[in-house]
Amino acid sequence: MSLTQQEVLHIAKLARLSLTPEEVERYRAQLSAILEHVAQLQRLDTSAVAPLTSMGAESRLRPDEPRPGLPPATLLNLSAQQQDKQFRIPPVFEP
């Protein structure tokens, strides 16, 4: 299992990570080695095994009742940039 630089760049894009050229090459080599190691799972025949998807007994629901939360100003104050009681962000769409 050997990744190409293009594949690493594709994964980084999906993960919203900017990488330096040195990082691309380092992660290409390291992720290839790790994927080679985890590929040993393919040896096992699991056609009759149900995947383990939940650790709890069963999902539980709670009543959907309003309850107090943290004040909006407290949460907004954690942001790097805010304006008029809102998060301030650069443009999402190209002008």
Binding site: A12, S18, L31, V38, L41, R62, S79, I89, E94
Partner: protein, 489 residues
């Protein structure tokens, strides 16, 4: 005796009898931290004067008749759990300066029991690591040999307890992050059952694996802390709606283990394990037998697959959980012209190397075309690993094994080889994958004087069985008593 040398149980006893004040105890902790923290670097944040004010309040409450179980006791908290008013960085630059406006339930319960949080301890970034070297704020040094790592990811908490900075501390365990540093630092560390304690306020890494764990100098001390923080929390839907476990262990008694069946899994004694570790662990299993336990060789046949399963499932969950760190709502933000560039640059520049590696590994394992082969197959093999444990626990009450293949390794020893580092967790990952509880307790020293750990694992929600067996072991051995040299020879 200096109060910082007292165990949690002894300090509480002396405070209850009026022989010691919380102020004296907290003052002694702060003085010890001031003297030795430069060599150890266990803390990322220290509470300072406010801790002494809280100690005075605790003393006043005690005089007024308050008998809260941990009243006036100083503790430390791993920096992946929020404490209102203290920074929470998770060892990452992406949360530099973040001041959480709420306190984690586990911490809040300890505070309600009277404990005083002295500070936040160092961790591998977002709990991803086995050495605390992945912290963006410098490595923690092992109090037994400061050229070595304390283990990880809860290395700061383990080192703080070993160094006698605090009698007890909280950590988190996703793949061994309480048990392995407990082993490396010669303290006792409990990883409870998945769902036993609230994770509200624990910054999420691997949501099907994460639990809040506790460190102390003995099983009795850990039991007192665990009893105070475990239990159902409506703010965490994964916490099980069970009565909180209350476990009190008498330090005057010499309990036996008659009738307890202990399984010794052959897959945990493998080539590559340090011979002194195997020798000490096997000798301690004999000690359990001498206390009345019945030994049986057992098999957990899918053990060898735990590492590849973990390194698909944990990164996959991490890649989703860490998507929330984008520079918008909290933490520093990289300046850029478009919002997308803000995301790429903030995350690319502020996440450390290991975190980015695991995010990318998880993103790949979940991506179109690879999901079934990687993540889907890992979930199936995880079911086989859990079934191994269920079958063995029909036969035995406890499983005994090494915690880690080696004692504490040197800082920088694993350099640029992430797989070698991952192999450090080979004996601790299975308990997280199966959701069962585990405990690490000191069981010997190697020829360099470094602590060795014994791991006991038990049935789901059977923390009491683990703590009682660990307590029986410690009431007849003294491996948990020596004090490390703190780099002063």
């Amino acid at each position: 005796m200096n109060p910082s040398e007292l165990s949690l149980t002894e300090a509480l006893r002396q405070m209850q009898k009026g022989e010691l004040s919380s102020r004296e105890l907290v003052q002694a902790s702060l003085e010890r931290i001031a003297a030795y923290e430069p060599q150890i670097h266990a803390f990322l944040h220290l509470a300072g004067p406010s801790a002494l004010e809280q100690a005075d309040q605790a003393d006043a409450r005690r005089r007024a008749g308050d008998a809260s179980p941990l009243l006036g006791l100083p503790i430390a908290v791993k920096d992946v759990l929020t404490v209102e008013g203290m920074p929470c960085t998770c060892g990452s630059k992406i949360l530099e300066g973040y001041l959480p406006p709420f306190t984690a339930t586990a911490v809040k319960r300890l505070q309600q029991a009277g404990a005083i949080v002295l500070g936040k301890t160092n961790t591998d970034e977002f709990a991803m690591g086995s050495s605390t070297e992945n912290s963006a704020y410098g490595v923690t040094h092992n109090p037994w040999d400061t050229s070595r790592v304390p283990g990880g990811s809860s290395g700061g908490s383990a080192a703080a307890v070993a160094a006698r900075f605090v009698p007890a501390a909280l950590g988190s365990d996703t793949g061994g992050s309480v048990r392995q540093p407990a082993s490396f630092c010669g303290v006792t560390g409990l990883k409870p059952t998945y769902g036993r304690a609230s994770r509200y306020g624990l910054v999420a890494y691997g949501s099907s694996l994460d639990v809040v764990g506790a460190f102390g100098r003995s099983a009795a001390d850990v039991a007192a802390v665990f009893s105070a923080y475990n239990g159902y929390d409506p703010l965490d839907a994964s916490s099980q709606n069970l009565a909180a476990a209350q476990i009190a262990l008498q330090t005057e008694s010499k309990p036996r283990l008659d009738g307890v069946k202990v399984g010794v899994p052959r897959e945990y004694f493998i080539a590559g394990i340090q011979p002194e570790v195997e020798k000490a662990v096997r000798a301690s299993i004999q000690t359990l037998q001498s206390l009345g336990a019945e030994l049986r060789e057992v098999s957990l046949p899918h053990t060898e697959f735990a590492l590849p399963v973990y390194y698909l499932i944990a990164p996959a969950e991490a890649s989703a959980n860490l998507a929330r760190f984008d520079g918008i709502r909290y933490g520093p933000r990289a300046e850029a012209e478009s919002m997308w560039e803000v995301f790429y640059r903030t995350r690319g520049e502020k996440f450390g190397e290991e975190v980015k590696r695991r995010i990318m590994l998880g993103t790949y394992a979940l991506s179109a075309g690879y999901y079934d082969a990687y993540y889907g197959q890992a979930q199936k093999v995880r079911a086989l690993i859990r079934r191994d444990f269920e079958q063995v626990f029909e036969e035995v009450d406890l499983i005994a094994s090494p915690v880690a293949p080696t004692t504490a390794f040197g800082i920088g020893a694993h350099g640029d080889d992430p797989l070698a580092m991952y192999l450090e967790d080979v004996f601790t990952l299975p308990a997280n994958l199966a959701g069962v509880p585990g405990i690490s307790l000191p069981c010997g020293f190697d020829s360099d004087g470094l602590p060795i750990g014994l791991q006991l694992m038990g049935r789901r929600f059977a923390e009491a069985d683990l703590l009682r067996a660990a307590h029986a072991f410690q009431q007849t051995t003294d491996f948990h008593l020596p004090v490390p040299g703190l780099g002063l020879g």
